[in-house]
Amino acid sequence: MKTTLKSALRDYSMLLALAAIWAFFGLEHPVFLSSRNLSLLLIELSITASLALGMLLVLLPAQIDLAAGSGVGLAGAIAAVLIFSHGAPALLALFVATVACVVIWALMGALIVRQRIPAFIITLGGLLVFKGVHWLTIKGQTVPVSEGGKNNAYSLLTTYYLPPLAGFALGALVIAGFAFFLLRARARRASYGFKVPDNERSFLTLFIAAQLVFLLVIVTNQYRGVPLPALILGTLALAVYVLTAHTPFGRYLYAIGSNEEAALISGVPIERTVIVAFALMGGIVALTGFMQTAYAGASTSTVGSLMELDAVAACVIGGTSLRGGRGSVTGVLFGALIMASLLNGMTLMAVSPEIKFIARGVVLALAVWVDVKLNSD
């Protein structure tokens, strides 16, 4: 009762912050709300949010991944070099880089839980090592994601847009699926005798979601259509949601983060769970790396730099606890949207990089302060 009120307030506080940010940029710089910019913002959001969803998986069991940003650069570099310098097929290159990241991250996870080295230290080491390996890989050059400007699976990651009709079909499918699962979840909760939100509220949720999805399709169709990264993010978000909310693995993540000793005594396979979380993070790091590098058009020494902090910030703004055990996919998506909107808007207004850093830092601190205020009794 009290807690739902507070969490509602927290959700709305994020919504209000988002509305304020959008209103500000919209008024200051009308291009912000143009269909082209919103399409680009959607791509940027997809990249930030993907990494943040991975970060959620390691933050829930009270771990952290500081190497994510360097990994993003490295994964993009490995794939680009394989294609551009060695003529490998794009799909093979992406596959190899993904496997490499999954293995490396699983290894870091193993070092953390088996050798009892704090995640902060292991991944801090990873941050430095992978940055170095990244630069070695590209030898200080700019390595394009495809040869001679041709399209391949790599470059298409951020340049492919769904045809308008397909966009609408997808939108309809998403809404139908959402409605189905929302109603089924309601019916189930009611059958368990749990509290269910009243009809009006559920209908309103559904109605607003449907409006937003169609608005999104319409706006992006005005430019080139729904961008592929949005599809990737949608799939990833659904997967992470199911994983965290509806699988034993997800319960274990929350349990480890809430009380590791009790989790052990409860038979939670702590080592396996944390290692798998890191392996998944490795895969997501690679995926984010491909999108980010493709968005930049080439692997350069700065791709991925400091992205781990954006990912952590997105999680924390979205209500994830750095001490583990608390956090949700929807919160992370919101947090990522706030971070991506800020960055996009400031870039549009040609704000200097110095001020960008300062603004993002202030927003992060502010968001957490509000969160703490709303969570204190």
Partner: protein, 524 residues
Amino acid sequence: MSASSASVSLARAPVLATRELVKRFPGVTALGGVSFELLPGEVHALCGENGAGKSTLIKLLSGIHPFGSYEGLLFAAGSEVQFTSTRDAEAAGIAVIYQELALVPEMTVAENLCLGHAPLRRGLIDWDRVYADAARVLEMAKIELDPTTEVRKLGVAERQLVEIAKALSKNPKVLILDEPTAALSEDEVRRLLDVVRDLRARGIAAIYISHKFDEVFAIADRITVLRDGKSITTLETKNTTPDEVIRHMVGRPITELFPRRASTPGGVLLSVSGLTVAERRDAPPRLRGVSFEVRAGEVLGIGGLMGAGRTELLLHLFGAWGRRIAGKVRLAEISLDSPTPHRALAAGLALVSEDRKRYGLFLESAIGFNLSLSSLSRVSRRGLVDEDAEVARSRALFDSLRVKAPGLETAVRTLSGGNQQKVVIGKALMTEPKVLLLDEPTRGIDVGAKLEVYELVNRLCSEGKAIVLVSSELPELLGMSDRIVMLSEGKIGGTFSRAEATQERLLSAALGRPGAPQKEAESS
């Protein structure tokens, strides 16, 4: 022991009093009208079942629930008070010693004692005074501890004494002791009671909360019984009996405290032979050559003094402690030679830990989350948790254990100790274990909840499960076990059948004294 030598004069104004206190939480009325008076220089016991409102009352008296969040009146030294914070309560001379210890392990005893109000000299901490003050406070409380010892090197009992010394260092008029002896040995309990008596003689009034009646009757001048958030009655200790207090607490007479029913044991379910275990690879063994068997439908009690290795034994069997040097463990037909809790549960072994908050519960999570966590593989299909199956099983346990809470989605944090314990037991039961290891299952819970735990033990036995019951209370061991193994410094000091066990025999076996019957564990 005489109940009281200090005469209670009703003419004196109470140092602390409440009138018709009502405290509501969303959905629950924790206090529904509590009135009681604490007189100067008396020890006043509060007795009540889980959820009777003792903890809530203390939180009101100590300012944790501030003025405005409750109804009713609070008086200190004859005038009404409105505590808006714990500091107000401290200023009014009220010091609380909580069940949960609040010490900093890395600091010395003296540093802990002056934490937050260290004496300063020219802006820097005056270390000479810190240690001198600490020594003085410890001496006043008759606690023999070196103030330069780091708290992490102390045992639970010694830490409890430091807590008391810490409370005393604030020169309180009223001392509130919330289950102060839950982790103490008998000898330490005696020391603590002596300290409380000594304070009473100096005019410090105390509110004493305990589930142990021998302590309550040894120390208290008066007893106020709480039930369902209401103060039921206040009794003079010398004019009442434990039975009468229990009757008021539960609202019904309890004929038997230990309702163990005889059962006919079946085949051996758990067999342990020659178990020698050390904490680490090169540490001296803490368990030495421990052997015993438990049969289906049987309760094996395990006793011993603090540090005898009872908890270590259970944790090791469960795969959560120590490094095995020698020995075999078999559960039914499965050999548990390098167990982890995960494997132990899969083999049919479940553990209810003595420290439920640390090893048992996810306090911020819902009851349902807690109950099903160990059994998720049983309620999952194709990698997804089947919520229908999960909720059905959780609900069945919630109902059969009679957890007092609004529902499965209630956060465990909001439950009383006994109900939290039921959730921990429920989590173990949902794994459908063949053998259940219970480590102090009734610690810190009241008579009514204890009875429910005992009834549950009976039921599980009749269902053919084997139970290993570790307890530091000899009456409980004697009352509930079919056989009793006493551990003494990591070795078996004696094994007794229900018929041959007496408190004296158990105790001398625990002390490892010669003359105690030394029977082979397998001979039963």
